[in-house]
Symmetry: C2
Subunit: 76 residues, 2 copies
DNA sequence: GCCCATTTGTACGTATGTATG
DNA sequence: GCATACATACGTACAAATGGG
């Protein structure tokens, strides 16, 4: 999944992976994606790396977060 | 300058401060602003906080960075 | 061409605050 | 009150690019 030797930055790899899961329907619209802690554990990267990837996708309008609730796939 | 007790997040306060300096002409177009290390020392916040503020201004198109050279004010 | 200082980029860990249920 | 989840903020380390000597 994540290639630690690749020249591509980890946060971009994570963003690409999540973008793919959203577009493939694995993470359907209006549902919560796994929490930051769970993504961190699954992918084997640091929390800040996952957060940076999520920030990108939020700016792109693919994700919406609500503190205390979770991170949700935007309707598309 | 920076109000550590304010409800406003520090990174937003830093971004606002730099935006003000750009708009006032204190940081003129096409010139380099102080380095991250210097801003960190001047403002008394963490490097990550300055970086987050700079990232915002880069996305807004106010700043352009060149690794190894510095951070420059965009022409406006 | 080669070091070296400077500067930005990426990435790790950790702690505390705030919101939700 | 408590567990979960995101937000903010600190410190640190190393890589890569640039420019000067």
């Amino acid at each position: 999944m994540i290639d630690f030797g690749a020249p591509e930055p980890l946060y971009r790899q994570v963003a690409d992976l999540l973008r793919q899961r959203i577009e493939s329907g694995e993470y359907p619209p209006r549902t919560a994606i796994p929490s930051i802690v769970k993504l961190t554990a699954e992918l084997g990267v640091a929390e800040v790396t996952v957060r940076k990837a999520l920030d990108m996708l939020k700016r792109e309008g693919l994700l919406i977060t609500t503190p205390g609730r979770g991170t949700f796939v935007a309707q598309h």
